[in-house]
């Protein structure tokens, strides 16, 4: 049983192979704190919400926190604010551990590989991993897995560019960070990460589409802003990757795979192509592919990597 785990800023997702079936779990990475009163307890019990007790407060997890927040008109607290673990907040870390345990089932046997992705901006190499990354890996290890950290860009290429021999550019437009990875034959050559806060754009898009539905206004402003920020992201990535020299390794025309919540917006592929052309990449674009299931695209790439690694380890043991 191999597992791919996608620890995103807004949602935790896992995808595993369970007897030939793909079983997914997901949970919003947020919580809500309400006072421990009889009314709140009765409300949570009636709505079958999952909550914990912390002193005089009740802590509601995941999607139930969002629902109760809307019901009680209270703001939910993001667990990974700006894609980072909370500092000096032990309760938030406990909630994080609970959510990881809820999303990630216990391993059937020791040593099963779990490929996980974390919000962008972390150094994924072992020698330079931050305390946050080690903490997340430890949470995965406590479930009985052997954690392997990969980038979201690599996961996107593994999930979407199998027909291109896992070679191309993988772009993950996360809620807080955007990752552009140069992948050659399933191996990551270079990675560029920038804080883009595209999640706010997604919120604006949903708000604007709602307003457009009400007023009949078109979302030209939003499209223009999104194109602008995508162009800036791609321009920065181009400069960084060209200066690093890794673009010379990938063959042309280059395939591109893109995923993220913002890709579900209507007309995103058109905006993406326009921003790519405006960025002026020194690559001949062969094919751009937007993930068909962006919610589990990264987790599926992690699962593919975990399966490949598992069988590679088996072959090594046999040898």
């Amino acid at each position: 049983m191999s597992v791919g785990l996608d620890l995103g800023t807004t949602e935790f997702r896992s995808l595993r192979d369970s007897g030939g079936d793909l079983v997914a779990r997901r949970c919003r990475a947020s919580y809500l704190v309400v006072r421990d009163t009889t009314g709140h307890r009765r409300l949570l019990e009636n709505t079958q919400s999952r909550f914990g007790v912390c002193g005089d407060d009740l802590v509601i997890f995941g999607d139930d926190a969002t629902d109760c927040g809307q019901m009680l008109d209270l703001p939910v607290v993001p667990l990974l604010h700006e894609g980072r673990l909370p500092v000096g907040d032990p309760v938030a870390r406990q909630i994080l551990a609970l959510m990881v345990e809820a999303v990630l089932p216990a391993a059937a046997q020791q040593g099963v590989i779990c490929c996980l992705t974390v919000p962008g901006g972390y150094e994924l190499e072992n020698d330079s991993q931050s305390l946050d990354v080690r903490y997340l890996k430890q949470l995965v290890a406590l479930r009985g897995y052997t954690p392997q950290l990969i980038s979201s860009g690599l996961a996107v290429v593994l999930a979407e560019l199998s027909c291109a021999a896992f070679t191309g550019l993988g772009i993950s437009l996360g809620a807080t960070n955007c990752e552009v990875s140069v992948i050659h034959c399933g191996r990551e050559l270079a990675r560029f990460t920038v804080g883009s806060r595209l999640g706010e754009f997604a919120d604006q898009y949903s708000a604007q589409s709602r307003a457009a539905d009400e007023t009949g206004m078109a979302g030209n402003v939003w499209e223009r802003n999104l194109t602008r920020i995508l162009t800036s992201i791609f321009s920065e990535a181009r400069e960084a990757l060209v200066s690093e020299g890794s673009l010379r390794l990938i063959q042309q025309p280059t395939s591109i795979a893109c995923t993220g919540g913002i890709t579900m917006a209507e007309g995103f592929s058109r905006l993406f192509e326009r921003a790519w052309n405006q960025a002026g990449w020194p690559l001949r674009l062969g094919h751009s592919r937007i993930a068909t299931n962006p919610r589990f695209c990264v987790a599926r790439g992690g699962l593919i990597r975990a399966i490949l690694e598992g069988h590679a380890n088996k072959d090594r043991r046999v040898a």
Partner: protein, 670 residues
Amino acid sequence: MSMHDRSSIRWASRLACWLGIVLVAVISADAQAQGVGSNAKVITWNPAPNGEIFVGILGEIEKPGVYRLDSASLNLQSVIRRSGGFRTEASGTIRIVRQDRVVESIFFSPNANTPLLAGDLLVVESKRAQAAISKMYSADPSLLPMYARAAEVALKGNDPTGIQLAFVNVLDRPVIVKVKHENARLSHVVQMLAQPIELAQAVRVIGPDRLLSQSATPHPVQETIPDGSVLVFPRNAINRGKLPSLPIPYESEIATGAIPSLIGGPSGQSPELRNVGQLPPIIARDGQDLRYAQPPASLEQATIPTPAPAFRPEPSTPNNDRLEIPGPPQIPVVSTPPRIANLPFSGQPRITSSSQMTTELDAAPAAPAPEAIDVPGAPSERVSKPKSKPFRPAIESDDLDEEAPASESATGSPLSSTLMLGMLVAVGLLIGLALLTRRQLERHAANPSKRTPAPQEFSRNRNEVEPEEIAASDEIDGEREISSTPQPEATPIRQPDMALTTQPAPMQMPPSQTSWDSSANPDLLSAWFEQLLANQLPIFDEHPDFPAQVSLQGRIVPPPIFRVDPPASKALVQGPHFPLASQASAGHDEVASQSPPETSQIIDEFDVPHDMGPARPHFMRRRPGEKTIAAAAAARAKSGSPSAPITSTETKPSMTPVTDALRHLQGGQS
């Protein structure tokens, strides 16, 4: 085991448990209704004893009779082939008599494989009789006598020597005999079988034609039986000890002279066919051929000297597994040795030609199951239990075939209930297993990749190039290599062409990567993994598994809350938000740039007298320290200083006129 497997097993086990519970409840209710000592209704299937399978055939067939078959040849075509094929008068329609009734009427097809059951009786219908009877039933009433005569002639058959009759429930197998025309009456037949004459009233006649067999009225005892009729005797009503010698079944594999085309020529054209198809005569107890005997007088004297009371079939009792035929008690029962030709065939068949007759009773083969019948007045030592169940496959009910005596019945009831319970539980388990198997088959049908074992086959050696090697070959170690060769030296990980075809949105492949050779090692990638790569596998959502009771340790750090107030011009009067300052605020930046207001200013802002509207009555006394804005304003107005602090010793406002009126109405009590 996947989640669906577990849920399937769980549902199947639940279903089996509920089915078992329901069946136990039904059985218990049935047992309660039947009483303690009664047996539950048991549906049994009696196979052929000793594995013997007999099938009888009569009518327009070259070699009518009873045939011993094996299970492999138990089909209609085999029987027709063994019996020499149809006569020219055969209409091709065959009726199958099973379970004492006509269960099927089919048109013969030589290429089909029509299964039969042991004990079946086949009646090959005649074209002539069928046409005559049809005309008789549809003719003008004035022409009815003519057609009736024609039908009578047709029903007599074209065999001047006699007519064919089939007996059911006489032996453990069908019996087919040929009797003379003048003896083709129920009374004569019963007497020839050495049975009480009253038994003739209980015999049911299945005519050779569908129209005749549909007659609801019982066949008259003294009326001529049509050729090819089937006489259904009551079950267990035959005293087999008195039966004369009956024809033995045919043993030959294929009838001699059988025509391959299954359609025989007219009788008499082939010497083989002339010889076959004729039956040995019924031999009376004294060795007389019944076919040529004078049956009524002589047989009556021989077998039934005095008329017995009217036959009345009685249901069996627990003490008696056989129907008792009331007979004269003063006549001792002749315990005859078994004469029923029911032995397995050994050596030369006894019936080699129709002319062969059994003239000696003692020469007849010993029957294997001489089932003596309990007769009232008979000595008890002569009573023998049946050694085997009836031959015919039957759905037996306990009220007909209750073979256990009363003592065994009382003790056997719990046993049978236990057996039934076990069977029903087994049936429930089988149903659950069938459901599981069906689900598995559906899953395999939906996802055939599970039949292929091989996730191990999509290892990296599919292209015989390890990724490490690829990485080493592509390692950035020289600027020359990078700049000179835009194409990587290492062969990329390739996929079968099938993966390209199964992509939901096919991509344009780079030209350099079209060298994928699926024929080199086509089974490296499993189909499941290909579907995973192509994002074609369905994803099943599962709820995150949070623990039920969670206690978090520590102190919750309140998150930073940013409040942005709208401008005062847009502030709603009835809303919960009030401007923090009297000046219009454009946003949080301007608010942050301002100095925080003093607490006294906020209080003063709150204490500005507003238009409170008409005074409302207050029926309750205020609690100590309770203040209202109006009261504070009144107090300040009274003190003369608008910024005077509000203390808890504020004076209460005066009563309103309405309050005073209410107090007056209530007698001075609030």
